[in-house]
Amino acid sequence: MADLIAAYDLLTSSASAWIYLIPGLIVGLVFGSMPGISITMAMAIFLPVTLYMDFLPAIIFLTSIYTGAGFGGSIPAILMNIPGTSSAVATTFDGYPMARAGKHNEALGVALASSVTGTLLSYILLLFLVVPVSIVVLKLGPLEMFVVAIWGMSLLGSLSGQSVWRGLLAGVFGILLGTIGMNTAGFVRGTMGVPWLLDGVPTIPAMMGLLAASQLLNLINTTYLIESEEARKLSFAKILGGVKLAFQYPTIILRGATIGVIIGAIPGVGSSISNLISYSETKRNAPDGDTFGTGNPKGVIAAEAANSSSEGGAMATMFALGIPGGGATAILLAAFAMHNLIGGPQFIAENKTVVYAIIFSNFFQAICLLFVGLLFVYLAAAIVRVPLRFLIPSVLVVSTFGAFAITNSLAGPMTLFIFAIIGWAMVRYEYPVAAAVVGLLLGGLLEQNLIRTWQISRGEFGYILERPGAIFIFMLMVGSLAITTIGKRRRLRREKLMEQRALSPDTAGD
């Protein structure tokens, strides 16, 4: 309790520190919504500035950028099918179809509300879970990570569309792409002698190519992103409607936030998987699961609640262990260090006041994000009124710049170009592009952790019995799959019965 009061004192010690909150959020939103500018990049650019600030304003500024950028990535995902970061992939699945159907206002509102609630929930969970999370995180071995990656892959089934085989083939293609480069044991595969591929295919340019450019090429004969003129309006009321809509599905948000916190806490995995798992879990559990991928707002809620709450998970790892879960937390640790707060397992014990202060300031940030975000989203939605003959070339140019910014070389734009062609061909021949993207994101993770498991166990299957954590995660996955399959079967049987009754009126009368 004394710590909480001290945290309150620290937060209220200087009112002027709070003037950095809104600029931080705006910087985050702007950078996050630019395809190709990562959260890490945005924070790294502003890190030197904070050297000249006091501790509190510096941390408020940087964490505000983190919070803002976390949501910013979903704006291009919804409006242009470009995931600004890998954590917004699942947002494109339903967000973009919603935008094309003229529900861009609602989609953005839904995304914003789920992000804000996801962030809030994750920090509430964080308040209680910091210590247990930290114990679990270090114990996670390659087998556990492998099972988590497999869980992510279970999404392939739901992305397949009409033909399961085409979906699996696209997924395998993605996994193979994900294993290009030097593997964890130091062997180089599939680079064709190109040094740029040693670290693998640059993921974000490849994703932008597959998802965005391929879509844009298919839009060439259309005049506007949204066909009907009335639907092309910017409506604050409809954005607010989207916000309200999100709150009608508290279970989806809560599930997304829990998945986000837990997966986000795993160093090096984080939000790029949590949004996929949350999406696939929600899809399988929803009675209208079949309409996912065609513009179901629940898909957007699931994805956004999970990717924004991963921020809290990553913070938990950072606070509890002093190790960065990803690039963004590495920058935060550097900022702490500049103010003589050293990371490490003793961090939370020595700096409880600071940790609580950061958690509380994130509550405020999430609430402010709702208002700043509403305004930002309203302005961003104006994109739907731009005729496609201007929009497509501009988006292609911005994506190319973004791809260049990520790799700092022509390798990015070239990847974008090649994958745009692959994406177009896949759409043309009815292979699900999203399945390839999921494979690409998870392929490397799957392979590397499988190799490490094999190295540790020397190929003996008995090793599985030594890892109760992995067994637990695996059972959880199988259980979740089984429950939904049984549930679906029952529902189908019930529907069939209803149909039969409807078809034979004489029995229905009994």
């Binding site: 670290d199 500049m338 490490g344 397992p345």
Partner: protein
């Protein structure tokens, strides 16, 4: 009537020209740096070199009088960043902050790099890492003797977390040779970076880890150090050093050597500019204010100077060349 005759006009004109010309000549010679300097970091944001560059740059730019711009060029074990740096003009407006060892020798020995060690000239390599063998704080392994005993009986008895193609890997092999442990039987578990390998060590996912010791400092309370691969105690680790364990002529390689470098051709082409830059980095490194700030961030600022730094890099390169087969895939 006219006060200005032809001669006066000429004199004035000449004087003006001379007055204008003199500083121009001086400017060309002395005004380095007259524009911002790029500092290339061949790694992504957040790693040791990036943190070092970003922590040092604000002080260096005060000393040198021009802004320093950090340029991250990560990828392929610094290969892409080093190649990029070599392609930049050698005019002193692009300098390098890198883990010179092991990455420059690695690029050359295993990745067919188009450059040689001599193409780089070190100004100062303040951070000198060393391999630390450690185990989880709650592990059953108490000391290095126990490790040797177990590995001698069965080389695969313990899983060893390590980075492929690293100085640590060379060290584990030299350690095995020195203690009669079968190299081929070792159970190596490879990680993509020092961070994941250290986490796996601290969490007991692998039995022992062999990773750069400086990165272990923040995790010190979660690990038990077993042996330090250097000839003198480092960072207060409560463990024997390798020269105590295997004798004074124990074979080992030093870990990452990180710091500032320039093109070798820069020194020949612009000796005056080189002197300015060298002086600025030396002065900044020795500034008590800088030392305090970097120390707080667990970053090194020790001044060794160009001679010692270059020699250390060349020596490491030579030892790595002897063990080149170890560096090509695990």
């Amino acid at each position: 009537m006219n006060k200005f005759n032809r001669r006066t006009v000429l004199k004035i004109a000449g004087g003006v020209t001379a007055a204008l010309a003199t500083p121009a000549v001086l400017r060309a010679q002395e005004a380095y740096p007259s524009r911002p300097i790029n500092m290339v970091v061949p790694f992504d944001t957040g790693g040791y070199n990036d943190r070092l560059a970003r922590a040092f740059a604000p002080f260096l730019q005060e000393t040198i009088g021009q802004p320093i711009v950090i340029v991250n060029r990560g990828g392929a074990g610094a290969m892409l960043g080093h190649t990029y740096f070599m392609q930049q003009p050698d005019d002193g407006y692009t300098i390098l902050c890198t883990s010179a060892a092991p990455y420059i020798p690695l690029n050359i020995l295993t990745q067919n790099a188009q450059f040689k060690i001599d193409d780089f000239s070190m100004i100062n390599l303040p951070s000198r890492d060393y391999t630390l063998m450690a185990t989880s704080a709650d592990s059953e392994i108490e000391n290095i003797e126990q490790v040797i005993e177990q590995l001698q009986a069965d080389a695969g008895a313990l899983s060893i977390g390590i980075q492929p193609a690293s100085a640590d890997l060379v060290n584990v092999m030299l350690f095995a040779d020195a203690n009669g442990i079968d190299r081929a039987g070792l159970r190596l578990v490879t990680f993509d970076g020092g961070g994941p390998a250290r986490n796996a060590t601290a969490g007991g996912v692998v039995d022992i880890g062999m990773v750069g010791g400086q990165g272990f400092i923040p995790l010190a309370s979660k690990v038990r150090p077993l042996v330090v691969f250097d000839d003198a105690p480092r960072d207060g680790w409560d463990a024997p050093v390798i020269t105590d364990l295997s004798g004074p002529d124990a074979q080992f390689v030093s870990g990452s050597q990180r710091g500032w470098a320039v093109h070798s051709t820069f020194i020949e082409k612009h000796p005056d500019r080189y002197a300015t830059l060298l002086n600025a980095i030396e002065q900044t490194s020795k500034d008590p204010k800088v030392i305090e700030s970097l120390k707080g961030q667990k970053l090194a600022t020790d001044w060794f100077g160009p001679d010692v730094s270059n020699k250390a890099l060349v020596n490491t390169g030579k030892v790595m060349e002897q063990h080149v087969e170890l560096l090509k895939g695990t």
